[in-house]
């Protein structure tokens, strides 16, 4: 069963992707999504891609601050005066 008879199960699974990865689903919804994922490689591939995408976005978006800025921030300390 899972997801009810009227709904395209992959469509429903797509809707659950973000709350699933954010761990925002109830236990019942989570179990339902996992049951579908166990038997559906179409959705499974897309879930894994999303998970990896999030990791990659986090890594790719990082730009470190320059030592110059770090120094400037440190000089703003009021306790130095």
């Amino acid at each position: 069963m899972g997801f009810g008879a009227q709904v395209d199960p992959c469509e429903k699974c797509e809707e659950l992707l973000q709350p699933y990865l954010d761990r925002e689903l109830s236990d019942a919804e989570r179990a339902e999504a996992e049951l579908h994922l166990d038997g559906c490689s179409y959705c499974r591939k897309r879930y894994r891609f999303e998970e990896e995408l999030r990791r990659y976005v986090r890594q790719a978006a990082v730009e470190e601050m320059t030592p110059d800025l770090k120094q400037k921030l440190s000089e703003l300390r009021t306790s130095l005066f």
Partner: protein, 196 residues
């Protein structure tokens, strides 16, 4: 005896000085993490650097209003996001209310259609999307959505922290995050496969 005012009490003054030094040290230790978020909230490095200096200058002046034991990183980012809005960033009248047809599988489906199906078995998303693609796509997400995506997905803040930082209800955080991520994926698809 007992006539000294709190301001003149040397013991209290010393305690306050110690607290202030500790606050400033802790705030500076968080600067790298605050900057990573700041950098993606604005378009250029110069803007991010100005914003950081303004934020830290204000935080150091207002250190007494920070409640010890609460989340200092969130407190700093609350100052920063408020300053960013005050600085007159380009505001959308109402944030991207056009219907968004694309679902959460959109980017994967577009890559697959273009014969660039991601090899999830090896988990190599970076073979399909470059760092520049990600940066460009993020900056194309409208501000209201980007703020939430950056705080949660890059800053690693909880929904509750993001709600507090941006002073919006948690339900709004969730809906903007959901939509913001979809817009990000649409932008990534346009960047890498071309717009439809």
């Amino acid at each position: 005896m007992g006539e000294t005012t709190p301001e003149a009490d040397p013991k209290k003054l010393a305690e306050e000085a110690r607290d202030r030094v500790r606050f400033e040290e802790e705030a500076l230790e968080l600067a790298d993490q605050v900057y990573r978020v700041a950098r993606r909230l604005v378009s250029t490095r110069e803007e991010a650097e100005d914003l950081m200096q303004e934020t830290y200058s204000r935080a150091f002046r207002a250190w007494r209003s920070f409640q010890p034991g609460t989340n200092l990183r969130a407190w700093l980012l609350r100052i920063l996001t408020n300053l960013n809005i005050d600085r007159g960033r380009k505001q959308q009248r109402s944030p991207d209310l056009q219907p968004l047809e694309e679902g959460d599988y959109y980017l994967y489906n577009r890559l697959e259609e273009a014969g660039r199906e991601p090899n999830v078995e090896q988990e190599r998303v970076d073979e399909r999307l470059s760092q520049d693609d990600v940066v460009a796509a993020l900056s194309a997400v409208p501000h209201d959505f980007r703020d939430v995506v950056v705080l949660v997905d890059i800053g690693d803040f909880s929904y509750a922290d993001a709600a507090q930082i941006l002073e919006i209800p948690i339900g709004t955080v969730m809906s903007r995050l959901h939509r913001g991520r979809r817009i990000l994926k649409r932008e990534l698809a346009d960047e890498t496969v071309g717009s439809v």
